[in-house]
Amino acid sequence: MPVILLPRLKRLLLGSPLRTTELHEQRLSKKAALAVFSSDALSSSAYATEEILLALVVGGSLLLHFSLPISFCIIGLLAIVVISYSQTIYAYPSGGGAYIVAKENLGVGAGLVAGAALLIDYILTVAVSVAAGVAAITSAAPVLYRHRIALSLTFIVIILFLNLRGVRESAVVFGIPVYWFILSIYVLVVTGLSRVMAGSSAALPPPELTAVEVLPPLFLFLRGFAAGCAALTGVEAISNGVQAFRQPVSRNASITLFWMAAILGSLVISVTFLAHHFGIVPQHGETVLSQINRSVFGRGPLYFMIQAATTAILILAANTSFAGFPRLSSILAQDRFAPRQLANLGDRLVFSNGALLLAGAAGLLLVLFGADTHRLIPLYMIGVFISFTLSQAGMVVHWRHSTEKGRHWRMAVNAFGAVTTSVVLVVVAVVKFTHGAWVVLLAIPLIVYWFRKVREHYFVSARQLSVSDFERVKTSRHTVIVPVAPVPNKVVLTALEYARSISGDVVAVTVNTEGRDATDIRAGWKKHVDDVPLIVLESPYRSVLQPLLRFIDEMEDLRPDDKVTVLLPEFVPARWWHNLLHNQTTLMLKGALLFRKGIVVTSVPHHLRD
């Protein structure tokens, strides 16, 4: 790919760059924000019921009736979390979510744990949502099952592309599938429930299943509850992205949060009820939602329309993370806990590097886990509940130091939220530990350690670059070494002109790889250059770089007061592909010298005409 064409291709794919001053215009209305920030939470209603049933089914068909009480517990938990987060939205209108709240109120350590947990959660959201979306496709078209990894990766690339174009345009693109899904599932639920109430659809008992694991019912209930908590993933996204809302940001964000909770709660309970009513159990190759859909509409056009809507929202649920991950990683980068590149706004006013990192990490997970939702789900939720707990605990401390009216009841709300989510965290960690939760429990401290090492590096660098202890070192000499080809040409002569202009001590050096007589080489040199000595190094093994680098090192060691500059004559071909026709010795030398202390490297380009 010619380098000169890259900007054109980038502009064609991603659109023209936006001015920094246009940043404030990239604000979302409540409806647009519901699509951008809630697709993750809403889409989890497509697989939360299935996860509950999968956890219960190991105990046999007798325990499947736990699914409804479990769903009610999850709705109760959702209400607690949402009420708690609405407080956070008002207290922190600039966003940042659990990381900022925990860092400001509980200390840096707690903030970093929350940050690490959230980053993992965002990556898993992309992986799980895309895998579940592809599962909805393969439920309707089983022939595609063996292509699920390729399909998943394709969807990630599409979402990445849409996000790199900018948040407003992605809100438009993602709004349609989100509202289409909400409408479709309500059509399914209302049709299903009306048939139940009209008595045209009799309740069916679940198939006879024997227990494959003998576990206490309470433990299985808790396992089902822990699995169903997948429905709560993504709830914090609105609180993290408050600043993306239109003014008044807190009010709009809070209203959107309650809209999202009401829709999510009603979907989870209705889907679970219908699954229970139709006696549906998880099956290999077809999702629970697909089975409900088939039971209500058969395999007619409405079935396929709802499957398509489910696929669309699940695939696009990943978009919530593409809004949240880059934003959080940019905050971490601004605090020097993550590489600075993550804080850079791209051409389209989005944190492009964060989006690319997220897509890469989620893609890797999908490949490693074979794009299998059920293998990915156990890794999920630990991060979510750690961030919930730390955020709510942070809010308790926030209200304790606050002088605002109503701080006592606000503190009580958040304290209740913190206690509830911490209990759920323990439950999830215990019942899911051997199913994969241990991976996340191990990964979080490792990421926190990495955060600290990154910050340490930035501090050490800043200290070393500080001008406060700068001592001027007087350089009394300056030697310029010009590596040249054995036969001089215009590029070399141009470089020598420049070398002479910066120092009186210029030495040209060449490597004789062809076994030519050094006297002949020097004689050829003298015909064109009579004021710069040419050192001819012999290279019995035809290596060019090694003798040159060793010679440069020797010259550097010659005198302590001597500054050595290596000046590289470089020609630039008129066409990009002409580079392929030439040795890239200069480029390799430049790369090798990059790590040599005390040596200045510069190049003198000579542009060739077409």
């Binding site: 000595p533 012999e538 290596s543 003798p547 020797e554 060691d557 010659l558 005198r559």
Partner: protein, 91 residues
């Protein structure tokens, strides 16, 4: 820059001395700096370029035996530096 005649004279003298120190070391060139005070003897042993520095005054005032000692000392130092570099390259 050294005149050709002077350079050849120096090269002849130093090559003779180097042959008795280490016959594997070849003197490639000698360079005089712009202050006309500092000489750099560029040598090579096998693949390794070695540069030994000396002031023009020392070069001119030393007898052959003294110059040989200086060169031997300088070479020893540069070969040791080369050995250390080679070891770090192999790491």
């Amino acid at each position: 820059m050294l005149g050709e005649e002077t350079k050849q004279k120096i090269l002849r003298r130093v090559r003779g001395l180097l042959a008795s120190i280490d016959p594997e070391v070849h003197l490639l060139d000698v360079v005089l700096d712009s202050t006309r005070q500092q000489l750099a003897f560029v040598m090579q042993k096998g693949e390794w370029p070695l540069v030994v520095g000396m002031t023009w005054l020392d070069y001119a005032s030393h007898r052959d035996e003294e110059l040989k000692n200086r060169l031997e000392q300088g070479l020893k130092q540069r070969l040791e530096a080369a050995r250390v570099r080679q070891a770090s390259e192999l790491e």
